[in-house]
């Protein structure tokens, strides 16, 4: 009984630990959820469809691209392919995080992969790196608030989107780059961090200028990852565990 009470207490604190870490993500993504809802209705979605898209796809950039193409009456299969292309980077997240959560029951893993977003991956990776376990309860505490706010704010944006004030003066278009830079810098103690960041930055900018968006994400990411693979293992610090 006592052991049970203790483990229940620690599960609770694990959950709130995750919730605490989710707050910057909730703040940073809120304007985009509202903006998405407003744009969705503007491009011919119903409020229910905007809500449904946020609830089932749950990937901001891909949803924006999806409704933009929908508004331009692009062929449905091309819209779906574009959503897939924008979200393709998650394949890499999935391969990375799989090592941390492979011990969860299958259903928990299925849920875990469903809410695997950019910040979810980055924060879970950072926790694994610091030597603490990535448990399901903690992971859910991190992801659930982000998901719920995302879905609710999308619906609110769809309902009341026309009331949004000047988004440029509020800096809304540039909040995510700031947030992502913060995440990148959070990994600066990893071996090979600087060369990987440099390779990915240069490759993604060149790809952005030549091939175009969204492919610059996959191309830039592959450049940085290949560099880490190619460099001799003693540089990458694999084998010696911190």
């Amino acid at each position: 009984m006592v052991a049970e009470a203790i483990s229940e207490g620690s599960a609770k604190s694990d959950f709130w630990d995750g919730v605490r870490l989710s707050m910057p993500v909730v703040v940073a993504s809120a304007p985009f959820a509202v903006l998405f809802g407003a744009l969705a209705v503007d491009n011919g979605f119903s409020v229910l469809e905007a809500f449904l898209m946020s609830a089932t796809i749950y990937g901001g950039a891909s949803q924006m691209v999806g409704i933009e193409l929908f508004g331009q009456h692009v062929a449905p299969w091309l819209i779906v392919l574009s959503i897939f292309a924008v979200n393709f980077r998650h394949v890499l997240y999935s391969a990375g995080i799989g090592r941390r959560i492979a011990h969860w029951p299958l259903l928990q893993q299925a849920v875990g992969y469903f809410i695997l977003t950019d910040p979810q991956f980055a924060i879970a990776e950072a926790r694994a790196e610091s030597g603490r376990p990535v448990g399901f309860v903690w992971y859910l505490g991190l992801g659930l608030p982000v998901y719920l706010f995302w879905v609710i704010e999308s619906a609110l944006g769809a309902l009341f989107g026309k009331m949004i004030p000047d988004t440029h003066a509020l800096g809304i278009d540039f909040l995510l780059p700031i947030y992502f830079l913060g995440l990148v810098l959070g990994f600066r103690k990893r071996p090979l961090w600087a060369p990987v960041v440099a390779a990915s930055a240069i490759a993604s900018i060149i790809a952005y200028r030549t091939v175009g968006s969204p492919w610059h994400v996959s191309i830039g990411a592959v450049a940085g990852i290949l560099l880490a693979v190619i460099l001799p293992p003693h540089h990458s610090g694999v084998g010696k565990r911190p």
């Binding site: 998650h90 890499l92 999935s94 947030y179 830079l181 913060g182 959070g186 880490a228 610090g237």
Partner: protein, 98 residues
Amino acid sequence: MSTTFWIILAGAVATYLTRVGGHLVISRFENIHPRVEAGLNAVPAAVLTTLVAPELLHAGPAEWAALAVTALVSLRGGLMAMFLAGAAVLILARQFVG
């Protein structure tokens, strides 16, 4: 069911495939080669960098100031402090330089 509904559903399935796909491929291998592991460890920095770098192409003084402050705060503070400082500088600077 409307076309929109099917687009959303297919988009959701495609997205979920990207979120489980990498794991399904990697988990087929019993041992992960050290070089593959080094590659996986590079994933966060590599992918997240590509979400920031192209933004620099159209960044003006306000955006550069915000990123610089974010980087400075990262030396000491946590993620929330970094984000709030960067956002505050951005909003403030845009009132002056647009």
